[in-house]
């Protein structure tokens, strides 16, 4: 007992240090949100990783079938949505006599075979090709956003010029005002953000406003592209640059839909004719 006491006295600095240090660390963890959350998350890492491991083994048993089913179902649903949208938007003005517009877009389900987000020019590879009806120039979307444009096809694969590419431009429309701009990647650094160009200076833009595709380019109208993050980015011209948060999660793409525009030939021919005349 006496030795213990001597030991405590001899190293009292260390013991006081431990006491006070633990007290202050407890203060830190209890009263600061950031440190508390990182403390909790690091203790959850141990338990969470165990459950995650178990779950990942379990889910592997039926993973393939589930994926196939879901992707096929999504494709069918998307086609239905597109049909419904077209009926709705025209219903109160004109009765549809010709239903040709309803079948304008078909969706081909494809898996992403290769993907990049960290380069300056990003491309994806899909596991479907010309044998499945994919052609050069078709648009590619995912369940919640725009992915890119088909660049080249082989029999069983096709390469996609991602939206994260300086040459990709997508025509978009702002939700509240209906002003049309074009979406580019812009910053060439972060795959979560893009820039909407060519919005005239006088347009009032709200933060968190949604941005949709306009339907003028390869993509059907009304697909959500993202929401506006910053409105004040001025390019010094008479146009606004809007920074938007892309709704597509490019770092985690698995299933995509290739948009097949069945009337694209007709549209292109007509537009080529009018340009010749003009």
């Amino acid at each position: 007992m006496r030795n213990l006491w001597l030991f405590l006295i001899r190293y009292n600095a260390i013991f006081w240090f431990i006491l006070f240090f633990v007290t202050s660390i407890i203060l830190v963890v209890r009263h600061n949100n950031f440190q508390r959350s990182s403390f909790i998350s690091s203790s959850n890492v141990v338990i969470g990783s165990y459950y995650q491991q178990v779950n990942s083994w379990k889910s592997y048993l039926s993973l393939h079938e589930t994926n196939e089913e879901l992707a096929a179902e999504n494709g069918a649903l998307r086609q239905q949505i597109q049909n419904l949208l077209q009926v709705d938007t025209t219903a109160d003005t004109i009765r549809i006599i010709d239903s040709i517009e309803q079948g304008r877009y078909a969706f081909i389900v494809a898996n992403v075979a290769n993907n990049s987000v960290h380069k300056k020019n990003n491309y994806l590879t899909l596991d479907k090709g010309s044998a499945d009806g994919i052609e050069k120039g078709m648009g590619v979307i995912t369940s919640n956003g725009v992915v890119g444009v088909i660049l080249q096809t082989s029999a069983h694969f096709s390469s996609v010029q991602s939206l994260l590419h300086p040459d990709t431009r997508v025509s978009v429309v702002l939700d509240s005002t209906g002003v049309i701009g074009s979406l580019v990647w812009g910053n060439s650094i972060d795959h979560r953000y893009g820039v909407v160009r060519d919005i005239p200076n006088h347009v009032q833009v709200e933060k968190d406003e949604k941005v949709y595709t306009s339907g003028f380019s390869l993509f059907p109208a009304g697909i959500q592209v993202g929401k506006i993050m910053e409105t004040g980015v001025s390019s010094g011209e008479s146009f606004l640059d809007l920074k938007i948060e892309l709704s597509t999660n490019f770092s985690n793409l698995h299933h995509v839909y290739v948009v097949k525009d069945l009337l694209i030939r007709e549209k292109e021919e007509l537009e080529a004719d009018s340009q010749d005349n003009g």
């Binding site: 006070f20 240090f21 660390i25 830190v28 600061n32």
Partner: protein, 175 residues
Amino acid sequence: MGSILIINIVRFIIVILLQVALFKNMGYYNIATIYPYIFFIFLLPIGLPNLVLFLVSFLTGLAVDAFYDSAGVHASACVGLALFRIFFHKITLEVDLKESFNTPSLGLMGTKWFLSYVFFGTFVHHFFLFLIEAFTFSNFMYTLASSILSSIFTTCVILLMSLLVYKRKSRIGNI
């Protein structure tokens, strides 16, 4: 004895006021920030009992924390500094000096001793501080770099402050 207490209380108030009113707004981006309030802990009397030293450091840290809205961060760093101070004194000081109640100032202890005392102490404090602020060992190099740069910065400011109140009364010879 009473005068030492009063001097230290006045010093505490001045140092904390300077820290939260002036030095809080200074810094080189996020890389180097300065915390010269720890000068107060450096200058506490040498023979102070360990418990009192820890208690005073802890309270100093808490006082600064109150202004920085970071309960406990500065307190834990100051407790770390107090431990360093005890070890440094144990290693470098002679017995009679260790038991006296002198203030370990620049004039009393000489430049060499004082400089290493302040620099290493500042580094220990800043290292604890940035590590607890970041609360992770990832980005460790960034933490280390910013604590080294900040300690250089803080050491310069503390040296300037101690030169301002420099009074030569060397007891252990001119080193």
